[in-house]
């Protein structure tokens, strides 16, 4: 069954303590090429039937109303995942 992906990130101007902790660990491990880490979320919504304009619109609404909190997070992308085996 098709999948709609929703990506959510903490707002850029907000401190992301979880990302900061990971960045600290990378530094300790000697990965000096990476200066910052931010951690977001990826939701995969399995759709009953084909993805239509209407299901995509509904997913966008869910993304903004429930899957993210617009006060602290931004919805980055809402898109249909490529079918397995399809060339990316």
């Amino acid at each position: 069954m098709p999948i709609i992906v929703v990506e959510v990130m903490p707002k850029a101007e907000l401190l992301d303590p979880a990302g900061k902790a990971v960045a600290g660990a990378l530094t300790r491990l000697g990965h000096s090429a990476f200066t910052n880490v931010r951690i977001g979320k990826r939701f995969e919504l399995t759709v009953d039937g084909p993805v239509t304009e209407s299901t995509l619109a509904e997913a966008k609404k869910i993304a903004e109303d429930m899957l993210s909190n617009q006060v602290i997070e931004d919805v980055i992308r809402v898109f249909e995942a490529p079918a397995p085996g399809a060339s990316a």
Partner: protein
């Protein structure tokens, strides 16, 4: 005088809130997240805990519970609602209060007896305090950092909606040291520290007078009793 305490999956402090209500002199009424009735209560407490394991965001899934449509309705009609810790997180997720709560800036869970200042004693839950009175009640959370955009912060400060401010130590990076806020009507109040854990001698924070004798939290509940009976 009946004060409802709503239990959600993962609530921890619902029984403590019921006990606090009883010690303050009102009748605690246990309410269930999956129901669509407030059972004729006069005020509501959303208790602390980790509803739905803090999945998605703290308080987010609980804020969409069946009973929350009744809570939002009652709050908009003026019923006193107090959100403590996870309950505060539910109130911001339900948009009954502005802003949001994020992980503590130091990244750790923190428990301490916390001094806070009563910045506004004209709310349904703070009228028994003096203005600017400093009290000590327990604080215990991992995601207690209060944030809001600049315009919201200015409105909160300008309209006297900052109800509690951390004193001495800002324990989590909350903007403007905000520990709790109210809505414009001052019937809906949310805060991260726990008044219900400082309501009985022998079980509260230490004070200069005696160990565990702190009872500063009791007046949240006597405030709302006075408000409803007025």
């Amino acid at each position: 005088m009946r004060i409802g305490v709503i239990t959600f999956p993962g609530s921890l402090d619902d029984r403590d809130a019921q006990r606090a209500i009883r010690l303050a002199g009102a009748e605690p009424v246990a309410l269930w997240h999956g129901d669509h009735t407030l059972n004729n209560v006069d005020a509501i407490v959303l208790p602390g805990g980790f509803s739905y394991g803090d999945y998605l965001r703290c308080g987010a899934i609980a804020s969409h519970s069946p009973i929350m449509s009744e809570v939002i309705d009652a709050a908009n009609k003026g019923m006193p609602v107090l959100g403590i810790c996870n309950g505060f997180q539910m109130l911001v997720e339900a948009h009954l209060l502005p802003g949001g709560l994020i992980r503590n800036d130091h990244g750790r869970f923190l428990r301490r007896d916390q001094m806070i200042r009563i910045e506004n004693n004209h709310t349904a839950w703070t009228s028994a305090f003096d203005e600017n009175e400093e009290i000590v009640i327990p604080l215990k959370n991992g995601e207690g950092g209060y944030i809001a955009d600049q315009a919201t912060l200015e409105r909160l400060e300008g309209d006297g909606l900052v109800t509690f401010r951390y004193v001495g130590v800002n324990p989590n990076g909350s903007l403007n040291d905000i520990a709790g806020i109210s809505n414009e009507r001052r019937n809906v109040v949310g805060l991260m520290p726990h008044p219900e854990h400082a309501v009985e001698k022998g079980f509260g924070p230490n004070t200069e007078k005696a160990m565990r004798s702190g009872m500063d939290g009791l007046r949240f509940f006597t405030s709302v009793i006075a408000k409803v009976l007025a």
